[in-house]
Subunit: 356 residues, 2 copies
Amino acid sequence: MLVWFLPRVLALPITFTLMNNQDKVLLSHGSGGRLSHSLIKDVFLKYFTEPQLLNNEDASTIPDLPAGKLCFSTDSYVVKPIFFPGGNIGKLAVCGTVNDLSMRGALPLYLSAGFIIEEGFLIKDLEMIAQTMFQYSQKSSVKIITGDTKVVERGAADKIFINTSGVGIIPEGRSVSTTNAKIGDYILINGTIGDHGIAILSQREGMNFSSTIQSDCAPLNMIVESLFNICSSIHVLKDPTRGGLGTSLNEVALASKIGIEINEDSIPISRTVATACEMLGLDPLYLANEGKFITFVPPEEADKILIEMKKNQLGIEASIIGIVTDSHPGLVLMKTIYGAKRVINMPSGELLPRIC
Amino acid sequence: MLVWFLPRVLALPITFTLMNNQDKVLLSHGSGGRLSHSLIKDVFLKYFTEPQLLNNEDASTIPDLPAGKLCFSTDSYVVKPIFFPGGNIGKLAVCGTVNDLSMRGALPLYLSAGFIIEEGFLIKDLEMIAQTMFQYSQKSSVKIITGDTKVVERGAADKIFINTSGVGIIPEGRSVSTTNAKIGDYILINGTIGDHGIAILSQREGMNFSSTIQSDCAPLNMIVESLFNICSSIHVLKDPTRGGLGTSLNEVALASKIGIEINEDSIPISRTVATACEMLGLDPLYLANEGKFITFVPPEEADKILIEMKKNQLGIEASIIGIVTDSHPGLVLMKTIYGAKRVINMPSGELLPRIC
C-alpha cells in the first residue's frame, strides 16, 4: 500500500453551490459528487417526485404490474431547436416513448430519463424541460422512476440530448403489430400530417407563415385506449414520426407483405402546412408527425373507430385514408386528386435532420 | 386538399447504398428512411440478433419473466476516448447497466440500446462497438431487444454516445439497498480501485506508465449471483463508478444513516495505479471503477463471502476494507497507514470528466 502525499484535490471541502453566478450547468454537475447530487435534488427532484427516484439507487424497483405481456422501448431525442412552437425536447421525450409503447397496444407505465447536457447549458432551461416532462408524464399517466445525468464539455454535444426508455403492459388478447395488416383492412389516421416537421423547420430557419404552425406533439395512449374499449380487432398501430406517413405505410406494407392504396384527397393536411410544403418543395407525406397514428382495422369496424376518434381532441380531423389490398404486396400506391396512381416510395435520405 | 407540384425530393428513387465510398455514417442514416434501415440491418442486426429486434417495431415485447420484483435502470455513456485499454464505449454501456441492476440484487435480463452518432463516424468503429456489445451481452446473459439510432451533424456530438436501459428481476427474499447497511456490517470490495480512471486518463493524455493499465470494466452479475447462492443476508451492493469508492461509501453512510470506518492498508490498489496517482496528485479513492463493487454483510458472513469472491476471476484480490459503526452517522473515516483517522468527504467537483 502506498501513500498519496500529493494534494488530494477532490478531498478539499470546496464550497460550491448549485446555482453558480451564471446559473449554468458545469462539468462538475456530471461528476457523481456533491454537485451532481445538488443538480439532481434542486432541478430534477423538484419535478420528478416518484419515491423510487428519491432513494438515489442505481436502479429502481417496480412494485406491481397489471396482468399482461411486458413491453419495452427506447428513443433518444436530439431535436433542434430544443424549444419549438408547440413543445420542447422534454415534451417530445415523454410523448415519443409513450407513443412507441402505445403503438404495440401497451399501457405505458414507467419511463427512464437519461440526460446528456453540454457544459454551460442554462439551469433555467433545464428546469423548464424537467417541468414539461413532469407535466406530460402526468398527462399520460406514466411515472419517471429512474434517471441519469451526464455533462460533457462545451462543444461536445449540442445543448441537450435526452433518452427515455419505457416499460408498459399489453393486456391479454391484444395483438397489434406492423406484421398484422390483413387484406381488406381500412386505414385511418387521427388528423393532419406534417405539422411537427414544418413547426421545427420554420423555427429553425426563422420562417414566418400567415399563422404559426404548432407541432402536434402529444401523448396518444388515451385516444388509443378509447379505441380498444370499443374494438378488440385493431390489427396495426403506427405513429408516422421520422420519415412521415409515407415511410410508415411502406414499413407496414413490407412487414405484413400486403399492398396499400391511399387516396390523396382523404389525407388531412392544414392549409398552412400545405402552403409551406408548396413554397419549399417538400412532400408532406415524408414530414415527421409527433401526435399522429395510423391504424389498420377490419372494414366493418372502420366507421365506429372513426366516430370514436373524432370524439377525442386529438382525433377531430380523423379520416379513413386507404385500404389494404392483395394486388401489389410490399408496395404503397396513392390515387392522386387527378385520379392517377403514384407509387409512394420509402424515402432514401434525410429531408430534415434532428426532427426528434 | 392541395397539390405539391414542386420537386418531391424524397420521393426520387436515389440509389444510395449503406457503404458509401468513405464508409462513414451519414446524416441520412438517421432519417428513418431506407438508409436508416440499411444501417440497422447491415451493422446492428449483424450482432443484435434477438427476434424482437428483427420485427422493426416501435417497442419490443418480453415473453416471460421469472417470479420477483421488476427492476429498471438507465445510463448514458459519453466516455472519451471511446476506445481505451480494456474496453470501449460499447462494453461500458452493456456492463454499466448490467451492474446497476445487479447492485439491487436483480438478475439483469433485457437491455435497450440508444445510439447518438456524429455524422462522419466510421462504420467500422460502429461495427466494432456493436460487436463488443453483443459479446458482453452474451457474457452477462442479457438480451438487447430494443434500440434506436439518431445521427446528428458534424460537431453536434463528440463521435458517439450510447444509452442503455435495463430490465431485471429481483428474486423473492432479496432486499438490497444503499439504505440497508446495519451497525456491525463488514464492508468488502472485490478488487483493486482506480484502474478504470487511470486507464482512461492515460489513454486520453497519451501517458505511458511502466505497464499499461487496463480498465477493470466487467459485468458483475455472475460474481454477485455466486454470493447470493451462499448468503441470503447481503445488505448493500454498490459499484463505485463515477466519484469512486470515496463517493460510494459516503452515499451509503448518508442513505443508511450510519458511520463507516475503513482501513487504508486493506484497500486493494495496483502498484501502477498507485504510482500514477502519486505522480499526478490524484486520490485513488475518487477514481472511477467499472468492474468493482462493495458489499455490506453481517460480520459472521464476511469470511465466507470473502472466500467465495476470491474463487471468481473478478474477485481474486477481494478484501474486507471496513466496518459499519454507530458512532458518526453519515460520515466516512479512514484509518491511514500511519494510524491517524482522516475524514473521507463526498467530493464536490469533477476530477476526470467523461469517465463513463
